[in-house]
Subunit: 292 residues, 4 copies
């Protein structure tokens, strides 16, 4: 979970120090500063990529943006090399979520030399901003994120069933609309009609394609009401899964072995079964099953 | 529930083997392969129907698509015949959900010989894809689907009350908008205005019809806020019904006779009342009332 | 609650019989037929009003629709008179919900003689369709409707707080958009901008007015994300209130005096605290507080 | 919490009386009248600002509206001075939520003398309307508002995680759409494409920018389905937090020291653990943790 376990056990002593600065947050005083500076640079580079895509701005400042873009890319390249150098197992870092993102964040700019236009792919580096969680008390946010992820995982089968059903529906309904409405209303093909069905069922409703015939408008109304009501299903699923944790806290009374009442903020465990807020930091206390 | 019970008890021995291949999934080694190939062919045929509706593609490859379409149709016809031949009770299969879908999947192509344009109805065969559940561990997904269906069934009266109320509202509100806005704003008739009311209340908002007058925009704002708030009702209903199962698990402690804590993935029963994940497969454990 | 208590205690014997036919549903054999015929006539009259508003149809069949409209109106007038005649307390019926609707359903047509155009107000008679609940096992649907209404009532303060907050927000946010975007983008006045804010916050998004400036699009994005997240509030409120009933069933074990586990379908009471479905009709069993 | 504690302890006796009239609601008979008049004036002044922005109206009645605007501003200025004069600690009031709003409500009009156009900022005074809570039984609504606020606060970390994730997603997805669709479809720059992604993910769907290419429409469909499903997350989070209070009521049985079952309407405490409605006023009874 934490990259700490990847700290160099042997080798030159500088590797350990470098690792602490780059990967640690609290222990090493240089580490926090490094993280903060990194976040700022990432955001700056993302803004540069964005501005470069705005014609009016690019026209006047392209030169400047181009230079900045290369400066950021070089910095990120050095950082990536440093990360590789400082970790015990290169492979493990390179294949980790952030390891891949770090690499994807620098490739596009180099790629743009061969393949013009691909420099915009550098926007992917915005994903690196997720590192921000590490800066603002990692564990607190990861704790919450873990609960959300757990709820998602626990309801994955139900969500898959729901999605396959929805996709099947939009294909069938869209095709019927294609037969009913025909070309002139914008339903130029079944794929286009299916796209319209998605736009309608999800209650997005762009309005770039709309039914003209009475029958089409009636079927459209039915689709809308279905979408309006069906949104209840994923919501209900997630609510139930999220509810379970708090629920269990009351049920089991934190019986040893089954589950523990842990603070999602500071990770303090062993709270009373009816404890709502952490005694220490006031974070949300929630019952979670033991790791595994 | 499972079609297995429809296996031929007597008659030539090949019928049993055929049945195993077509209807079974796990027991017979040929069966899984058959299902996988079937899913692929179904998806391919759906894509063919879709592409055939795209003018630019149809113009250049109509001949190819037309041939493919007939190949698929013949294959499905043979399959349908094989299914009919292999089952004990023809009637029971023919009237089952998948039995009807299997038939509807082949009719349109033949119909298109008499009635041009109807070939697009073949898109209905996308419903056959629902067979995919049988391939990827049927019981796991059907287990979840059953819980969703159960929640829907349990809240059917509330949902009907909700829908009748909504329909009544859109008719009344739409008519008022018709009187307020009149022709030029696009509210050309009460049905059109009701259609607009549905578009608005469900928060779809195509924008093909929009109020121009101050009064109309005010009433529209009220309708939007109502729709924004009313979406809470179906969501609340479904959440509660879905919550009940997990809830009961904690309440009843799986007292014998009342309900059993079953894994929705592998169907293992008799879990502890506070068990969240299956001891065996880690699936979601949920309390369900005995069949019946 | 039930109108039965308004049956004539004295007076000519025909009043009692008339009352049974008009107001009863199950007891009197003539009553059910009367209700069914009534629903059909109501729906027919609503459709007539709707069709009459469709120019193409009105042009060709106005005469027919006009005659039908008057026939329905006369029938409803006679029915209204009969209801008034058959009840014990005229005042009590005339001021009841259905009493007012019944009157509003006939006024517009007469009014249209003096005030052309007002005949469309007759659409209000669609509300009479709510009588349908009485036909399809009244108590079942009213039981559910009562639970929904109870949940709404219990959370009325929270919903008012939510609505006042939302309205205040759209006024402020809309005004800022007016200052940022100005005339040409369609934000012609603060009221128009507030209307746009409602369209956006409720995620309806007609698209008749949209921001053009970068600042406007940024603020709009913030408003959309707020609306996307805030929809959670009413949903959460209603879910909790709806959940309480089922929740209490588990909590109190149907302790005498506190609450009773009643079937929302057939009203059978005294179910076990963990009973989910009615022993008799399979309806949803739910814990409700004693009347009062 | 209540401003009462800011009543002048010493100084001339008129300060105390003035304080009672301005800040109290129930105790002093003049106070209620003052609050009601104030709300009316605030609403009137907001309407004036709104009407003044409507060209057609401004053209004909600008003079009148201009005068009214200044009358209201002077009144509010006097009121603000009176509030400052009557309180014990000027600083504490000036920096309180309403203190700041009261000041912001008068600045724009004066500012408009130097900076034309800024007078519309006076719309901010609509926020003063929130005072209405104080008039209609303050405690009842603040009680509910406090519960909503508490639920929000308790789930703040989860909501932040959710928002950062959403923002990151729209930036990445928007950029891909920019690369896929390009200029002519309206995706003129990455910021514009990100704006479109927000419009789509939140299911607002203005339709001012829409994908034309097949690939773009496919990716758009995926984004819509994500947004349609992801709305479940904030809803689930808030539902759970809101549910907890009612939940705890049943769990803890109002054990002394842990939590108390308080009526959100009249604040009466010590209700039974299974009490749903207040014995005294019928308000919602809910379990809350002790202040602190």
């Amino acid at each position: 979970m934490t990259p700490a376990s990847n700290r160099a056990q042997n080798g030159p002593e500088w590797r350990g120090r470098l690792f602490d600065i780059i990967f640690e947050t609290d222990t090493h005083r240089g580490a926090r500063a490094f993280d903060l500076v990194l976040i700022v640079i990432i955001l700056a580079s993302v803004i540069v990529v964005m501005l470069d895509s705005v014609e009016t701005i690019a026209a006047s400042h392209h030169q400047l943006l181009y230079v900045l873009e290369w400066i950021f890319t070089v910095l990120f390249t050095i950082e990536y090399a440093a990360r590789l150098a400082s970790v015990q197992s290169k492979r493990r870092y390179a294949l980790s979520f952030f390891g891949i993102i770090d690499l994807l964040a620098i490739i596009p700019t180099y790629l743009s030399l061969l393949l013009p236009g691909s420099e915009y792919l550098a926007i992917i580096r915005v994903l690196r901003v997720l590192r921000v969680f590490r800066v603002l008390k990692l564990v607190r946010y990861l704790g919450e994120a873990r609960i959300l992820a757990r709820a998602m995982a626990a309801s994955r089968y139900r969500i898959i069933v729901f999605l396959i059903t929805v996709v099947t529906m939009v294909v069938v309904l869209g095709s019927f609309m294609y037969l009913i409405e025909g070309e002139d209303a914008g339903f130029t093909s079944i794929p286009a009609a299916v796209y319209w069905a998605v736009v309608t069922l999800t209650t997005v409703g762009f309005g770039d394609i709309t039914p003209n015939t009475a029958v089409g408008q009636f079927l459209a109304s039915v689709i809308m009401l279905m979408g309006y009501g069906m949104i209840a299903v994923p919501t209900g699923i997630v609510s139930v899964e999220l509810a379970y944790a708090a629920h269990a806290a009351g049920q089991t009374g934190g019986a040893p072995g089954t589950r523990d009442n842990v603070c999602t903020a500071c990770r303090t465990g062993g709270h009373d079964s009816d404890a709502r807020f952490c005694k220490k930091c006031g974070g949300t206390v929630i019952a979670i099953a033991p790791e595994g």
